[in-house]
Subunit: 202 residues, 3 copies
């Protein structure tokens, strides 16, 4: 179950990477590299900081799923792009799941709640930042004022808090993931926006 | 004392990250991400290469100080920006301190003097490079011809040399830091510039 | 022998980094930073993922050779640039060697053939991607449609396959490297190109 959810998150993130490749008119190799980096980047950074061998280099599915996502985008990208609203929902699910799972793994390896939450956020948003930098753009989450990192922060904080009180395992992870997912969806629906610094005009 | 100086360096680097965020019209989340990355990036890279858990993920202050810097810039960025000459002096202090501390830590973990100095430079300039790349710019130190990396190289080399002759501990670290700081200030004052390749016109 | 080939690969990658620096009108410090990053980046990423101290921080030659390459480009870049066809051949040799050596090291540290091949590709192309991102460009291999990553993928796959059947050591590594090199040269000569996604016009 855990593995399946992970792979679903990786699939969605890989789709977004491959689609960015199409938008930038990259060739199929570029699409694949972006898909792998987007899908695996956040988790690799997390595992490097935890000083363990990255999960992406131990599981076959983690490597193969982005290949499948790239193939789908390669042949059917107009349909995939048209399905973007659905993909944004899936992406929100991936965001929620990755921040919760990342935080839980960090707690397991002995980080304090504060640092575990920080690493959970990095897990959730790292791949997308890598995707944008490689595509020659400023990472979307830095400027687009949609709440993308904030739901991950909240989900990670809740996960870290639950772990602190001894509430670990699947129910807790799922609760934190659902919370981050819900907040992200609400932020998209209601167009909540992060503020600019004082005195900067919109 | 050591911890306090570290936190001062982190604070100054975080200010420069958050100010870059204002200049690029990022929202408050983007400002915070840039501040954390600028302040912690160099040290995290150093610790990953040394194969130890990054200090940033063990100390509360390292994570919280950039939050404070972001808040200050968020509310009072015109004053902070007007204080840039003072901040450049503080940044020079951070540069000196980080190259000396980074080199000392690398020596402690068994690197040769040459490699310890290299890692010291990476510690000092890594965060700023990350800040610039994330903000969509070529890292300042690559092209602006001001001597920014060179003082760090000198400070790191001196620190590595002192360690090689058994002179470690606070006095040595401070001496190397002050040397790098002084060279950086002198380079700014006297507008010393790094040369372009032969035959490239200014 | 192994060390000499490694250093030759590092030298060629460092040349390409320093030349990029000249093209972007960077100063000598920027040229050196780009040369070091291009030459050492791929191997450092490989070793971080394998959880071992990066080879670049244990060998004097790895650090010094890029300095020499930078000096050569600094004084004689018009000649070096005119020799680009020869350098592209050398770069193909570096690509072949790095993917084979990277895969072999990953197998040695216990990665599965699939993951070892993935890490071999990262070793071969990582430095060049870092060079392009730092120079403010989209990594060449993502969009230029020349087959650059594909020969590395093939060489890495062959190396992983040979290791799987117990064929390790120099002859196997050299065979995989020569294969990747030959494919890269053939791709350049015959202008083989990677396809764009379905329906994207050339």
């Amino acid at each position: 179950m855990s593995e399946l959810l992970d792979l679903a998150g990786i699939f969605v993130f890989a789709l977004s990477g491959a689609l960015m490749g199409v938008r930038k008119r990259l060739d199929v190799v570029g699409m694949l590299v972006l898909a792998e980096m987007t899908a695996l980047g956040g988790g690799v950074v997390r595992d490097l900081i935890l000083n363990v061998r990255p999960a992406a280099f131990q599981s076959v599915g983690y490597v193969v799923v982005p290949v499948a996502a790239t193939m789908i985008v390669f042949f059917w990208h107009p349909y995939v792009a048209r399905g973007m609203p659905a993909i944004l929902v899936l992406d929100a699910a991936g965001l929620g799941l990755f921040c919760a799972v990342g935080t839980a793994k960090a707690v397991e390896y002995g980080l304090s709640p504060l640092h575990a939450a920080l690493l959970g956020v990095a897990t959730a948003v790292g791949g997308g930042m890598l995707r944008d930098v490689l595509a020659g753009e400023i990472p979307t989450l830095l400027y687009d004022r949609q709440l993308y990192a904030v739901p991950a922060m909240l989900g990670s904080a809740v996960m870290a808090g639950l772990s602190f009180y001894g509430l670990q395992g699947w129910p807790a992870t799922l609760a934190a993931a659902v919370l981050a997912f819900g907040l992200r969806i609400a932020a998209m629906r209601r167009k909540w926006r992060a503020p600019l610094a004082k005195g900067i005009e919109e």
